[in-house]
């Protein structure tokens, strides 16, 4: 019998009642009396010098309250970067100023030039059209390699060039070179990890409100981490102390990473509301989102794998160009380094691994973390090169991977991290079983009978989640701690509110977190609610990204609940006149071991708040505890994925016929929600592999600026449910957090893109087309061209 309560129960998501009935409260649903609206006039050129901005005529238009330009932000801080990367020469990365509104130059299409605040959005937009901006267009820097050529146009005139940093990590060059020199076989591959637009269903929104009487600001914003925004905007941009600044992220309709970062529009609305003493609201249009939400990925890499005569991996070397865009977004610098280089060993015991990354400024929208953040880029390179090596050597790609698996744990990789636990053969076994590998030949024959090519793609992955041990990331350049926090407030009648630093924007925390507390206390989930998203209500936690919520914030909640149990046992011991050591808690009852004495959970909680009969000399009344939890290590979810595709040789169109994921997430609290996370992640990964393509032309114009040209995956692009299996039955619990959980939010998006591309290449090569690689998205046109070139 599957459990229906506590840890392991597939409880339906309680938050869906409001999401599915239109009763959610998103930022755009919040309106403040007398609010004004802002419209941002954005650059339509990729690179240009601002000669002048004349707002006189526009200011006189109906409804205009005030027009702001970069000049209004002199002396105000720029948007900060949260991670300082040190390059291979020991120098700090280049950190150009990132003003809230452009100052002197515009650096990408969408860069805000001026902000019109008016009584209505329509009036603001009308006035924006009347602003006279004289911009002298400059050559645009778009291609990363060209950006690094001597004499290339500079995105930032005050920097020496367009190189943000040149980073090297892992095994030393001499050792790696020697391993390559001694190799029996070397496989090399050049590839691009395509730039993506996150496209959460809810566009970004910011509403800044100022209470002059109390000198307090409130920002309502679409964020994954309200406390991070309060810290960055308060301390670095606007200089508002924490006790005068409240940041609220209410219901948020999807984030996928792009709502982690601190954006200009948030700072603007807060700043402007203080200047005009009136609330200011901004709601992004979808078109604005394409040119102002941080983009994802965009790496160009060369990867080389060395093997000995027995096909053991002996060395790996990568050389990556990572696009930063025009400015450094909040975590842009760490994504291609510490979230990418540290995962380059993958699931394999390759003794020498060296990662080289050049981060480059270009006249494009800033690029930052997007579901998986660095780990998909690492996995894609590694698993593509392994697949290519298998084909070149004529060996079975499953066998080649198995032969090189890490099999004993803990395992310290050459790229700094230590995997605590895992069993890669177990997930591979599970994947092979579910995929029915022996049946592939017959399925291929059936496809061929229909005139289609069929391919099988295999992929393994590992990721680092549960971000992150603060002391470690501090050494690596993080400018923030990455612990989390929870307060468990038990009320007098026994109901509980848990205030958490994690933020739920689709993940289902409101359902899952109570399951954990309910399990620990033996009470019903309906007695427990989660409070999240409001800096004035929750402890200073760091929010949700990097599959960290349950592993880090959930652990804080466990620790706080343990404190509650300890105190409650003291109270129960007093009530039953027994020794605290003899008190047991089971099914919401405290009992004295070996006796039939017991008191109920509610009796104890009531005693805490009505302390008539209470050990006041020993403990305080009340029952509320807070815990901060800083993880000892990352967690390392891993898995084996497989997919079968059909390729139409006449059109190049790829369809996914069968997909299997076998993941090891450690312990699983709500299997249904985990499966939903993996389904969604795989859909996004398939989107990246087959459809999504954020492209610029050579002038820095965004070609895929709307859904007319940017292809999102739809249900019909995914395999039928009958041929789509997500499995998480292989479980090696995390060894260092109290729940033994690893995190499941990003796995699907990390594991699926190489699986799909490997399958397409298997289909083509098995049919005699010698195609080494196709860049994502593997569109019909690209497949057909690869087959016919």
């Amino acid at each position: 019998m599957p459990k229906d309560h506590g840890i392991g129960a597939s409880q339906k998501r309680r938050e869906d009642v409001r999401f599915l009935t239109g009763a959610g409260q998103y930022t755009d649903d919040i309106n403040v009396h007398g609010q004004a609206y802002v419209y941002f006039l954005r650059s339509d050129v990729a690179h240009g010098k601002i000669n002048s901005i004349d707002t006189a005529a526009a200011s006189a238009m109906p409804g205009v309250v005030r027009i702001f330009t970069g000049a209004d932000f002199e002396g105000v801080g720029g948007l900060p970067c949260g991670w300082q990367v040190t390059d291979k020469h020991g120098e700090a990365m280049k950190e150009p100023a990132h003003p809230v509104l452009a100052q002197g130059k515009v650096r990408h299409v969408g860069d805000p030039i001026a902000a019109v605040v008016a009584d209505s959005l329509e009036q603001a937009r009308n006035a924006a059209e009347a602003i006279d901006v004289d911009i002298e267009e400059l050559p645009a820097v778009v291609d990363m390699k060209a950006a690094l050529n001597a004499g290339a146009t500079k995105v930032h005139d005050d920097l020496s060039d367009n190189l943000c940093y040149d980073w090297q990590f892992g095994t030393d060059t001499e050792t790696v070179d020697a391993a390559f020199a001694a190799a029996a076989h070397v496989t090399k591959l050049e590839l691009r990890n395509n730039r993506l637009v996150a496209n959460p269903m809810e566009p970004r929104v910011a509403l800044g409100e100022y209470n002059r009487a109390k000198d307090e600001s409130t920002l309502y914003t679409t964020s994954q981490n309200p406390h991070v925004i309060r810290l960055l905007m308060g301390a670095f941009v606007l200089g508002i102390p924490e006790h005068k600044l409240r940041v609220v992220a209410p219901d948020v309709g999807g984030g996928f990473g792009t709502k982690i970062f601190h954006y200009a529009e948030e700072a603007f609305c807060t700043f402007a509301s203080r200047k005009i003493n009136r609330a200011v609201k901004w709601t992004s249009s979808r078109s604005e989102a394409f040119m102002s939400d941080a983009h994802g990925r965009d790496h160009v890499s060369t990867i080389e794998l060395a093997l000995d005569a027995d096909n053991n991996f002996t060395a790996l070397r990568t050389d990556t160009y990572a696009n930063m865009g025009a400015y450094l977004s909040t975590f842009a610098s760490c994504t291609p380094t510490w979230l990418h280089g540290t995962l380059m060993a993958g699931n394999y015991k390759t003794p020498a691994v060296q990662v080289n990354v050049k981060a480059v400024f270009t006249n494009t929208v800033p690029v930052d973390a997007y579901r998986g953040a660095g780990r998909p880029e690492a996995t894609f390179q590694l698993e593509r090169v392994i697949d290519k090596a298998a084909r070149e050597l004529g060996v079975d790609p499953i066998k080649l991977r198995r032969q090189n698996f890490i099999t004993s744990f803990p395992y310290a990789t050459p790229v700094a991290v230590e995997y605590d636990t895992g069993d890669y053969n177990a997930t591979m076994d599970k994947m092979e079983e579910l995929m029915d590998i022996p049946g592939f030949a017959a399925r291929r024959a059936a496809s061929e009978a229909k005139g289609k090519l069929r391919g099988l793609g295999i992929n393994c992955f590992i990721e680092a989640c549960g971000i992150a041990p603060s002391n470690l990331v501090g050494q690596l350049g993080a400018r923030a701690g990455l612990y989390d926090a929870a307060t468990v407030r038990v009320n007098a009648t026994g109901s509980i509110s848990v205030m958490v630093g994690a933020h739920s924007h689709g993940q289902g925390h409101e359902t899952v977190f109570p399951q954990v507390v309910a399990e620990m206390l033996g009470i019903d989930e309906s007695m427990i609610d989660i409070v999240h998203g409001d800096s004035s209500k929750i402890p200073f936690g760091m929010g949700t990204y990097g599959s960290r919520s349950l592993a880090v914030c959930g652990s804080a909640m466990v620790r706080a609940t343990e404190k509650i149990i300890n105190k409650a046992k003291k109270i129960a011991a007093h009530l039953m006149e027994a020794s605290e050591a003899d008190i047991e808690l089971k099914d919401g009852q405290f009992s004295v071991a070996g006796t039939d004495k017991s008191v109920a959970w509610g009796d104890v909680t009531l005693a805490a708040y009505v302390p008539h009969n209470y050990p006041l000399e020993d403990i305080e009344p009340g029952l509320e505890e807070t815990a901060f939890y800083d993880p000892a290590n990352f967690t390392y979810p891993a898995g084996a994925y497989a997919c079968e595709v059909e390729v139409d040789p006449d059109t190049g169109k790829v369809t996914i016929e069968k997909f299997v994921s076998a993941d090891d997430f450690g312990n699983v609290v709500n299997p249904m929600i985990v499966e939903g996370q993996v389904h969604g992640g795989i859909a996004q990964g398939i989107g990246q592999a087959l459809l999504e393509n954020c492209a610029y032309d050579e002038n820095g114009q965004l070609l895929s600026a709307s859904y007319m040209d940017y292809a999102m995956p739809r249900a019909s692009d995914l395999p039928h449910m009958a041929n789509y299996t997500v499995d998480h039955s292989c479980q090696t619990p995390c060894t260092h957090n109290p729940l033994g959980v690893k995190g499941c939010g990003e796995a699907g998006a990390i594991g699926s893109p190489p699986t799909v591309v490997n399958a397409v290449l298997d289909a083509l090569n098995s049919a005699g087309h010698k195609v080494a690689h196709i860049d994502m998205p593997v569109s019909p046109s690209r497949v057909w061209e690869a087959m016919n070139s």
Binding site: E122, R125, S287, D650, T651, G652, K653, L690, L691, N693, A695, L703, S704, Y707, M708, D709, Y710, A711, M712, S779, P780, S781, W784, E785, N788
Partner: protein, 261 residues
Amino acid sequence: MYAFDIERPTTVAEAVAALKDEDAQALSGGQTLIPTLKQRLASPSKLVSLSGIAETKGVSADGGTVTVGGGTTHAAVAAGASAYPALAALAGGIGDPAVRNRGTIGGSVANNDPAACYPAAVLGSGATVVTNAREIAADDYFQGMFTTALDEGEIITAVKFPVPEKAAYIKFEQPASRFALVGVFVAKYADGVRVAVTGASEEGVFRWTEAEAALSGNFSAGALDGLSVSADGMISDLHGTGAYRAHLVAVLTKRAVAAAG
């Protein structure tokens, strides 16, 4: 959107009169025009809604001709053009249900988007575009992308399709917009075969006359073996090169012939 006035005539005559105002524009299903207005790419001072004109709605079949009123939605054609199954199927494959329940044949044919589906059916059937003022043969009507023979203020009231012996439309979707990356409409009439191609050419919808000649003698996919269209003048963009589109024209024409039976 900029501010505009709106009129809601109930007859073609009233609509034509209302459109005489400078800067007035016809509004039908709004599936193309409303997004354009929202992006402030057009600024008509007055919109003349055609949605309330009953005489331009509906599908009728009579003596080998299917007549579709200019204000008939794609959904209504999909459901009602059973006398011309290839046309009904084409209409049923446009956009999504919301688009099909609002968008109209008149709007689509007036707009003449180079990737739209209806132009292929109109040209491929040798249909007649009927307006408030005249009847225009399909071969004279389409004049390059977004360009037609319509005069200022002229309203499409109906499109008359001669029903062929056999026909089929095959659309290869552009992955983002799901308009036609290339779409081919093939129709076999007693006096010959017509092949119309949408999505592919920088000149908009066009007839592939070599394929028509080959198929008129032998209506089978095999008759097209060795035939190809030139990549010159084909659209080349993010979603496919001109060479790829030219290749698809040949592939889809064969498939359309096979589907027509």
